[in-house]
Symmetry: C2
Subunit: 101 residues, 2 copies
């Protein structure tokens, strides 16, 4: 694996007000992918939504957190879309991968 | 937050052979919850499956990895159920939580 990298685990539950949510979620994923230090994105929702973005450094994460369009999305998220969320910033210490050829 | 804890991010894609998978997944979640050092479990599947378990220590993660019933589940996973998986062991460095009201 690369020498060191970071994961942002964003776990959330939505409110019933979903207006504009999917568009914003898609827009933010696309925007994150263009940021310096972005590595990878994984998402699944099944009741709880889990979105994980992977980054080269803590600095890259801080910059993404402070991005102006992202700040506006965060504000709307707290105002409308999320009943609950938890964000965990993690250092990836080890990894294993399995591929069925 | 607690002084330090760890996350195991298990991302996976299934094969078409799903026989016995749901039962085993449920059984492993229940078993994980009884292990020393277990903290929390989050899961969602939407194409990709993401399961995250949270643990008090790396030792707790190693013990869970070496649990005999879990080893058998891992073997079946590689033989039958998974087309791909990636496991990342992470140290949670920071966390934020939002609760509506």
């Amino acid at each position: 694996m690369r020498s060191s990298y970071y994961a942002v685990i964003f776990s959330s539950l939505q409110t019933t007000d979903t207006e504009g949510y999917s568009e914003m979620a898609e827009q933010m994923e696309l925007l994150a992918r263009t940021q310096p230090g972005f590595l990878e994105f994984e998402h699944a929702r099944e009741g709880i939504a889990i979105s994980i973005s992977y980054w080269e450094s803590m600095e890259a994460i801080s910059q993404w957190k402070a991005n102006l369009d992202h700040l506006e999305a965060q504000r709307l998220g707290r105002d409308k879309w999320y009943a609950w969320y938890k964000i965990r910033i993690c250092k990836v210490e080890r990894e294993y991968e399995f591929n069925r050829e």
